[in-house]
Amino acid sequence: MSLERYQRIAAIGGVYSNHLALGAAVADARRRGVDAIFCQGDLGAFGPHPDKVFPILLDAGVQVMQGNYDNSIGEGLADCQCGYTDPRDNHFAKISYQYTFANTSDRWKAWMRGLPQSIRIQLGRYAVLMSHGSPRKMNEFLWESTTPTHFLERVLREHQADVVLATHTGIHWKRELPEDRHFVNVGVIGRPENDGHRHVWYTILDARDGLRVEFIPLEYDYRSLAQEMEGEGLPQEFIDTVLTGWWTTCLEILPAKERKRGKF
């Protein structure tokens, strides 16, 4: 199979209905000169007015794949398949899912249903596989502190990829593997990274001279997002995350090292 070929791309992780960050990310990526922009799913959740992200994606020609949230909303499932197990985490996940489901129009639900669950491209000399959680499970959490290098080597080998891109955890990281192979978690633009900063992150990959991975901190109008969320009656805990950069929910899924870096 012949793959689409690129030299320099932008990879955007979970959007979580943050249409303001999505607009900013698309503009920023264009300014930085990329051949194409990809989005690795989880278009809804957490933020306000889920329908606002779709026109931005289409107008910008973003190549989109399905995350677990999009799979759930598209298929009309009972929950987001986020993989939480803590009662408090599930409480907030339920609020978020019910709001997003109720406010996503049928047209976009059908569109999400048809999205691919992975994307393969050729980036310079690298065969790149984009996944949401991991190549083997859409909602697998690949955290930096719980993902051994030997595990990643196996995943890349089994999926015949030189580079695997994932998102889903909400925190970006990368690891160089033997034989010029790479794993990159591209981060998310839906909410900040639990580090006390309000910006969000996306990733540019450039293969013109070896693989260069650049994590981009992205400023956007977080105050307007918070106002919209307030207007929609979304939980104050979500709004506090946008305003402070600290996660207040979905914390129990964090491994020890990632949890320690946060405030709560």
Binding site: W143, T147, P148
Partner: protein, 300 residues
């Protein structure tokens, strides 16, 4: 305790994500009344694992793409080489220790904190406490164990760890939310500002069978129950348990001789019939042994 059934559905090992070590055998300084493998100071059904055997398995595990390493017993900190074992694990992957937190020493925790800070991987300490008060905990775990375990929690906090307090649901059905809330409040009052609490069902085998009751014949996983079920929620589809007597199918069934699958990890990768009552608890509870830090369910 268990019945065998030729038509029990079989669970395939899809990937060896979690490698468990019965590192302290069945040796424990406590004699909890709900222990599903009846650990005690005098239970030598399984002995401490040799350091060299643990290291050999760690090496073997790399080629099998193991994702997480778990250490249990008995009480792991009764093992004279526990710190060295964790120091050998953390350079290759994340480690979790299941402890009662009553025998760890500050000098050990100082070394472990240093080992974790040198590693890119997490070290999790899971502390078993079965009540939010001595009145609730001590009848299960022994007189004075609530205070001793809480002192252990504080010791862990002092060394920079965020322990996961693991609570077996020994109370009558219902009231889980209230128990959870009271646990969180108790831990916060004791100085753990952002407590991590994990509640797990009891397993009606070993000592727990005498404390409450054993499994009824109807508490079994059937072929019909597996239809449409996400089998990745069963521990045996992604885990194996290493002991001083060989490799067992999961961390729960080591008292069942037929659950021993081989001497090496590679010869222990076959399917296993879900024939035990404990399999039913695993089915209902879902991934009851893991930390939930990195699992994921099959979406399709």
């Amino acid at each position: 305790m268990t019945t065998t059934s030729s038509d029990a559905p079989r669970a395939e090992l899809t990937a060896l994500d979690d490698l468990w070590f019965q590192v302290a055998g069945t040796l424990c300084n406590l004699t909890c009344t709900h222990c599903f493998i009846s650990c005690s100071p005098s239970n030598h059904a399984f002995e401490l694992m040799e350091l060299a055997d643990v290291k050999r398995l760690l090496e073997e595990s790399k080629a099998l793409a193991v994702k997480e390493y778990y250490f249990t017993g008995g009480e792991p900190f009764l093992h004279p080489h526990m710190v060295e074992i964790l120091e050998a694990t953390l350079p290759i992957g994340p480690a979790t220790v299941l402890t009662n937190a009553t025998v760890m020493r500050p000098s050990q925790l100082k070394r472990l904190a240093a080992a974790e800070s040198r590693s890119i991987y997490s070290l999790e300490l899971r502390v078993s406490i079965d009540g939010y008060s001595p009145e609730m905990n001590d009848p299960i775990r022994g007189l004075g164990t609530f205070r001793r375990a809480m002192e252990g929690v504080k010791l862990l906090l002092d060394h920079g760890f965020l322990p996961i307090v693991t609570v077996a649901q020994t109370w009558k059905d219902g009231g889980d939310d209230e128990v959870f809330r009271r646990f969180v409040a108790m831990l916060q009052a004791e100085g753990y500002s952002r407590p991590r609490v994990k509640m797990i069902p009891t397993l009606r085998i070993g000592a727990e069978e005498k404390r409450s009751r054993g499994y009824s014949e109807s508490e079994r996983v059937t072929a019909e129950m597996m239809d449409g079920f996400d089998a990745s929620q069963l521990i045996c589809t992604h885990s194996r348990m290493a002991t001083d007597r060989g490799i067992y199918v999961c961390p729960i069934l080591i008292d069942s001789p037929e659950a021993r699958l081989g001497s090496t990890l590679s010869e222990s990768a076959g399917p296993y019939p879900l024939q035990h009552g404990a399999c039913f608890t695993c089915y209902v509870g879902g991934a009851i042994c893991s930390n939930f830090s990195s699992g994921g369910r099959d979406v399709s």
